[in-house]
Amino acid sequence: DLLKFNQLKFRKKQLKFARSGIHDWGLFAMEDIAADEMVIEYVGQRIRPLIADIREKQYETIGIGSSYLFRIDSESIIDATKCGNLARFINHSCNPNCYAKIITVDGVKKIVIYSKQPIAVNEEITYDYKFPIEEDKISCLCGTPNCRGTLN
């Protein structure tokens, strides 16, 4: 992981922000990506869980629909709502070509999006958000054959 992460840091994957068939905008590969490669780190502001709960309520009241809050572990959450990198634009898919994984670099946990399978140029990057089950359902728009219907 560490070696792959350092490689990613030195030479970022060529990605493009463009119109998505899944939802509004998305992130697309601009180069072929082999399986199990680090595609991008999910970067944002590291906050405590209780602060994330309070913010989630605030975001709902101001109408920020989708959640850019990503739980790292029981102690910290990455909030990419107002600051972060392109990873916040990756759309969800029930049949994704990527997956998210927590790695530890120099003792600090990070969220990294890996390729699950080879990804071709212009293919949209997707991963399973794995949202917790909630009562208020969010419809899933991924449109893949085995779509679960909702994100949560």
């Binding site: 405590r48 869980p49 209780l50 602060i51």
Partner: protein, 119 residues
């Protein structure tokens, strides 16, 4: 001997050797005492030994369910008095309590009056 509980606190708080003083930094975190009360009238005192410039404390009474990763008075399970502006808090609502806050060198008193026949 009533002391600050090592087992009933947000782990990021630092408790002194004698377990009678606690220090925190960054965001709010809480600690409870080793003894609890459930009926009658009780009073305790706390002294502010240090207060950095942009620091604040919220001290008071908290039930067992009060969330310790927040200041006392964040939820319904606690009541606290804040060093800044002397505001009292309960259920995340800050109301005026004392005309000015408190700080280093102040000794504060907290009294709770519970029904004698508490169930």
């Amino acid at each position: 001997q009533v002391m600050l509980a090592l087992h009933d606190r947000a782990t990021q708080l630092k408790v002194t050797e004698g377990r009678t003083a606690v220090t925190g930094d960054k965001g709010y975190a809480s600690i409870r005492a080793t003894h609890f009360v459930s009926r009658g009238t009780w009073y305790y005192e706390a002294t502010i030994t240090e207060m950095a410039e942009n620091a604040a404390t919220r001290i008071g009474f908290a039930q067992a369910l009060a969330n310790l990763q927040a200041p006392i008075g964040f939820d319904k399970f606690g009541y606290s008095w804040r060093s800044r502006k002397g505001t009292k808090f309960h259920d995340s609502r800050g109301l005026h309590y004392s005309d000015e806050g408190y700080g280093k060198g102040d000794t504060l008193g907290f009294l709770i009056h519970l029904p004698v026949e508490a169930t």
